[in-house]
Symmetry: C2
Subunit: 395 residues, 2 copies
Amino acid sequence: MLLTPLTEIEARVGRLQGRLRAAELDAAILLQAADLFYFSGTVQSAWLIVPAEGAPLLLVRRDLGRAQAESPLARIAGMAQPREVPALFRAHGLGGLRRVGLEFDVLPVEQYVRFGRLFPTVQLVDASRLVREVRMVKSAWEVAIMRRGAALQDRMARRLAEILRPGVSDMQLAAELEAEARRHGHQGPIRMRRFNAECFYGHLLVGEDGAVPSWIESPSGGPGLSPAFNNGPSGRRAGAHEPVLLDYAAALDGYHSDQTRTFSIGELPAEGARAYEACLGVWEAVRERLRPGETAASVYEAAVAVAERLGYAERFMNAGAAQVRFVGHGVGVELDELPVLGLGSDLRLAPGMTLAVEPKIVCPGLGMVGVEDTFLVTEGDPELLTMTPRQVWVV
Amino acid sequence: MLLTPLTEIEARVGRLQGRLRAAELDAAILLQAADLFYFSGTVQSAWLIVPAEGAPLLLVRRDLGRAQAESPLARIAGMAQPREVPALFRAHGLGGLRRVGLEFDVLPVEQYVRFGRLFPTVQLVDASRLVREVRMVKSAWEVAIMRRGAALQDRMARRLAEILRPGVSDMQLAAELEAEARRHGHQGPIRMRRFNAECFYGHLLVGEDGAVPSWIESPSGGPGLSPAFNNGPSGRRAGAHEPVLLDYAAALDGYHSDQTRTFSIGELPAEGARAYEACLGVWEAVRERLRPGETAASVYEAAVAVAERLGYAERFMNAGAAQVRFVGHGVGVELDELPVLGLGSDLRLAPGMTLAVEPKIVCPGLGMVGVEDTFLVTEGDPELLTMTPRQVWVV
């Protein structure tokens, strides 16, 4: 079982502490699973207190033994009830907190209200952004895990090429690919941060299903099986000469990797092939911009400029009200990380960022074509983590 | 695609409105996916406003066309930005709200803060409990969906009996069962309400893995594949004469069904068989109590009394700090619904409640044995929804 090394945790906590001091916060208190995993190495039910200076404290509700085995942090203590927290803070020299950051973007109101009662004199502020920005830059240790995810995605793509045939339903394909993923260590859950965002592996969409929009913040959606969970496959059967979009994420040892490939039984119609070439053109324009110092918005603008020049402005990243205003996003311990390569983002790219770039185009009557790769930003040219050949996979 | 009928929605909204009036609330505003699905029939990104009297209003951010196709509500309108909401409220005769209930248990702080800014004079209170209590009692329409889930669970159990053999890993088994489930319409995601609760199908645990506690509020946990998502299978290989616990939920058309069965390659050791018989004794004692008017706590107490009498007080529902203080829970559009058949719950059982009853016992050195069924409370004897024979499945 892969444990997060102390050196990783120390570097992450150190970067968060720098941002806490810059924001004049005395501490961040983190409760959400992905943040706990990132900053402590465990997702056991716990509160992680990261003071602006000094050692973090992990207060564990359940299971203490496992948290101790999984986290390399030095200060780990048990907590039976949240009402013990103020006394535990004092016992660990954290009694004087005045301004504390919480994960406003994911923390339920109920927990926030409880904080207010436990610490009536402490000012509670939103630290979501700080936490998410610390997580943008990955270490070599993290990138190595993501490379394994990329290899798993390559395996899924090759498996789809083997089993895609006329008349097979998307759910039969999904069942096979998901089983293949699990046999090779896929953890199952895809973590997304956005409220209500639910993703089951991702989108495996046959033909016109690929153009069906959904509430999820993604260019593709798909009808899903029912209004209860309405993205992803719908039970549709594959026919010849239509795009089959495979956008299944890998999730291994807590890290995600994102890739999309387009498949077709027999050649795509000319319109689909032409749109796919346009996606490759956007991909290339984006790749050239993935360099330290570029803003996330400028990358998006470059993508839109190519899509416009090739005549796809209205159908790039879906159409009408379903069109999304980004061409990619960070990926790591959550699938929807910062930076978003999208409209208005002034975040600047930096070495170590891992970015999923996903130009997609709707073809009326056909569905969605597109391509997606996860890149690592370096000092020089960006490095591809995903590895599946980028042609349309004609079977 | 199964749509929720208007009669269902009207009955649900009517019950919520009764509770709103009793609590002197002018409205509830619901944003969370499971609640949106239950009260509107769609999970498109939206705000559902249920006034204490009069017709609900669904304000849809994305995708409006799909929300209109999926929800039978009469008042559905588009909303580009939340800042439009106050004007939209006034336009729909909802300008005079003074006391409004929100889902404090699941709503992120960020959304709550935004509400406060949009409606500075409105008092915001917690309506989680009202919403969850309305959902406890199921209609015949809902129960019919859950029966289909129970049939899918029976299929999974029978498939496990076919493929369980010495040396097979839990992940190989998981891959097969999950594929079987997807081929028969399993929606994928299991919805749990509790903060940070993540469940991927459930727990398929081999031998001693069954006794490994986790942070999840469940008698079993399992090591999981990594500290990033630490419940469920771990890669362990099955041996003879040890329990294999199959606690995989079904999720079809938005509704869950919960069942556990214990398997063994060759007979269980005497200690395991004896503990399993004790679980059946608890199961029977609980079954006798599943009648209208009983409190949820009294059902739990009856279960504990049997476990104690049979000598399992210390190992019933896990052991030590990992012991949980319930023997069952409601199940429906979320897996962890009310009532919890547990310590201190004064909720009274009523016809139409669907309750998962899951007596489990830890056997040191062996793992966990147990059984779980989903019951429907009726005016008379409770009715079993799950259908798999309740013996230890010896293969």
